[in-house]
């Protein structure tokens, strides 16, 4: 089976061949490796490859797969080339109006602007408290406040739209 693995912006075409139920051949680029794979936990895998021992924990994070070992974490996206089922959509463009969204769940402590205000780049818009820390959210561009979707005291989910700057 063929996969496309994208890692730090580079696409790798990976061919996976099942040799026995426990061993696989992995080919990509010029190289072909044979590896022994054991599942050692709900999402943990032990891989022996050319005598080297790797111990991986694998989780999904949205569209990405995070593979962690004692060497650190690797984030990659994986596409079954027959059906591109885990492919993320095209990145959304960041031109046009700036949509100020909550970067984490939290509580709105204060709203510093109202619709119609002119703001300059870097000006504070709202103060959000999350994890007992307060953070002033600033506008990435100068412009006019088109919409204010939050009020002080309200809690917001991650990704919630708070302010629109035109």
């Amino acid at each position: 089976m063929r996969y496309v693995a994208t890692l730090e912006g580079t696409e790798h075409e990976v061919d996976l061949e099942e040799l026995t139920p426990e061993s696989f051949a992995i080919s990509f680029g010029q190289d072909r490796f044979e590896a022994d794979l054991r599942r050692v936990g709900p999402a943990s895998f032990s891989v022996l490859l050319a005598n080297r021992s790797f111990d991986f924990d694998v989780v999904r994070d949205g569209e990405e797969i995070v593979v962690t070992s004692r060497h650190g974490s690797t984030r990659l996206s994986l596409v079954d080339s027959a059906r591109r089922f885990t492919r993320a959509g095209p990145k959304r463009e960041l031109k046009g109006p700036a949509q100020i969204k909550a970067q984490m769940p939290g509580r709105i402590v204060n709203v510093l602007v109202k619709a119609g205000d002119q703001v300059k780049e870097g000006q504070g818009l709202v103060i959000v408290e999350a994890m007992k820390m307060e953070n002033e959210v600033k506008t990435p561009k100068a412009g006019k406040v088109a919409e204010v979707k939050v009020v002080a005291g309200q809690t917001v989910e991650k990704g919630a739209l708070m302010i629109v700057i035109e």
């Binding site: 089976m1 996969y3 790798h12 990976v14 996976l16 099942e18 139920p21 426990e22 696989f24 990509f28 680029g29 190289d31 490796f33 590896a35 794979l37 599942r39 050692v40 936990g41 709900p42 999402a43 895998f45 891989v47 490859l49 050319a50 080297r52 790797f54 991986f56 924990d57 694998v58 989780v59 999904r60 994070d61 797969i65 593979v67 962690t68 004692r70 060497h71 650190g72 974490s73 690797t74 990659l76 994986l78 027959a82 059906r83 089922f85 885990t86 970067q103 984490m104 769940p105 939290g106 402590v109 504070g124 103060i127 408290e129 999350a130 994890m131 007992k132 820390m133 307060e134 002033e136």
Partner: protein, 509 residues
């Protein structure tokens, strides 16, 4: 000794206090909010009482509910841990008025040290050196600007009622002043119920060194040596160690003596910490006293062999300190890394969520004080700390070797993100290894885009791809078959993948 203690806290410190209780044969009572019903401290305690909904103000800071829980369960004493009620004199008084023993300093001492401005004055009077800054509290941007012009930028603006890295901000220049004053004032009011703040000169390349003190109710006060907490992000400590690699034996002796004097100036009892800033010339200045057990107390425990939490409880029960100053000595070196659910690549923003896989490191010289378990959720409502990983070694370099190894063994996987890779990177940094750093180290050296990635050769990459494919298929299977899977997916898996994962499942037996 007490028969039963209520712990007015959550997370790893609640578990830490439960452990001290258990060592002493004391029963422990946990309190919990709605979202913490299945938290580790509830599971580990002998009793547990619901005290309110998720927001701390309605549960962990709900005086009435907590005192009612203590009454209902027959607790004799209350341990506040750190944060929450730990430095609130009013709560300590309410505890004592309700007939319980407060495991901490007298409310009066909390109060006198809690007003940072008054404390500065008091310390100066007791002959403890203090940093240049505002003589009293300030209220307006203009007052701050005036002081700043006198002592020069950068300055720190600090909430008068703050502490522990909360309610303080650095101002580099006049440009940021307005926005920061607003934030500090707002945060001070909402977090501490007191909007006043003050200003201190921000030392260049400062080292953050603090001295642990312990005092009983019989007039004995000792210091338990220093910790250095110079590796900070957003003014919060992330790595601490003991001893300090910076100070000399003479400076150590002097700081210890000054710390004991500072504690005695407020008739301090229980565990407390005098925080100092030191400049490159090894001048040191009183910054604040933390009138509670601190997050980083384990490094002191590993180096001195003293169980600080157990001793706190013994002191509260009226015991004399079980050691004199001359009995205490430092042996070897200890380093602590605070493991947080946060994303170092996104400015260390909290990144909580459910922990799916969790494997703690172990072996020689490793202690891990955790507040979670596999399957637990790090909730969004509280401090996102997962655990404190602490290693001891005969030398600083052995302690760091062991920390590097322990970080490698530590596995946390799930919906959350962690700073494990950040700490792994830290343990390879030449300046850190040499002990040549200051509180600006992270902002100077950490580049999230360049660091933390695995540098894998082709074979290593092949192994990663294989695991990713196998793991992806397992996750799809789990999502399809388990009623508790939290990652819904519109699986496009082909039958052969099912066959493969079925085989993998068989192999697991």
């Amino acid at each position: 000794m007490f028969k039963r203690i209520l712990i007015a806290n959550r997370g790893e410190i609640a578990v830490r206090v439960i452990r001290a209780c258990r060592d002493l044969g004391i029963e422990s009572v946990a309190v919990f909010s709605d979202v913490d019903r299945a938290a580790l401290h509830v599971r580990e305690a002998d009793q547990a009482v619901l005290v309110g909904p998720a927001p701390a103000a309605e549960s962990y800071l709900n005086t009435e509910a907590i005192l009612a829980a203590a009454k209902k369960t027959g607790a004799e004493a209350i341990h506040p841990g750190y944060g929450f009620f730990s430095e609130r004199a009013a709560f300590a008084r309410a505890v004592e008025d309700a007939g319980f023993v407060w495991i901490g300093p007298a409310p009066d001492a909390i109060e006198r040290m809690g007003d940072k401005v008054a404390a500065r004055k008091l310390m100066a009077a007791a002959g403890v050196p203090i940093t240049p800054g505002s003589p009293g509290t300030l209220e307006t941007e203009e007052q701050v600007r005036e002081i700043a012009n006198k002592i020069g930028f950068p300055i720190m603006i600090k909430a008068a009622a703050g502490g522990g890295g909360k309610g303080m901000r650095l101002v580099e220049s006049d440009n940021d002043l307005g926005s920061i004053v607003r934030t500090v004032a707002s945060e001070a009011k909402s977090s501490f119920g007191d909007g006043r703040f003050y200003v201190e000169k921000y030392l260049k390349r400062p080292r953050h060194i603090e001295v642990q003190v312990m005092a009983d109710k019989h007039g004995h006060t000792v210091h338990v040596f220093e910790r250095e907490c110079s590796i900070q992000r957003r003014n919060q400590k992330v790595i601490e160690e003991s001893p300090s690699p910076f100070i000399t034996p003479e400076m150590r002796a002097k700081m210890g003596e000054v710390a004991v004097r500072a504690a005695q100036a407020v008739n301090y009892t229980s565990a407390g910490t005098i925080e100092f800033l030191a400049d490159a010339d090894r001048n040191f200045y009183f910054m604040e006293m933390n009138t509670r057990i601190q997050v980083e107390h384990p490094v002191t425990e590993l180096v001195t062999g003293v169980d600080l939490v157990r001793t706190q409880i013994e002191i509260a029960a009226g015991a004399k300190l079980p050691f004199k100053q001359e009995d205490l000595a430092q042996r070897g070196w200890a380093v602590e890394c605070r493991i947080y659910a946060e994303d170092p690549a996104a400015g260390f923003a909290p990144a909580p969520g459910k922990i799916e896989t969790l494997r703690f490191p172990s072996g020689p010289g490793v202690r891990n004080d955790a507040g979670v378990y596999a399957g637990a959720e790090v909730p969004i409502f509280y401090d996102p700390m997962i655990s404190k990983l602490v290693t001891w070694g005969a030398t600083r370099s052995e302690a760091i070797d062991r920390m590097r190894r322990a970080l490698g063994e530590y596995v946390i996987a799930g919906e959350l993100r962690t700073n494990l890779d950040f700490h792994r990177w830290m343990m390879t940094q030449p300046r850190f290894l040499k002990g040549e750093f200051d509180t600006n180290f992270i902002s100077q050296e950490w580049h999230p885009l360049r660091n933390g990635a695995v540098h894998a050769d082709q074979a290593h990459l092949a192994a990663i791809f294989l695991a990713a494919i196998a793991g992806n298929q397992s996750a799809n299977l789990a999502a399809a078959s388990s009623p508790r899977a939290s990652t819904p997916t519109t699986s496009g898996m082909r039958p052969s993948s099912w066959r493969m994962i079925g085989r993998l499942d068989q192999l697991r037996r």
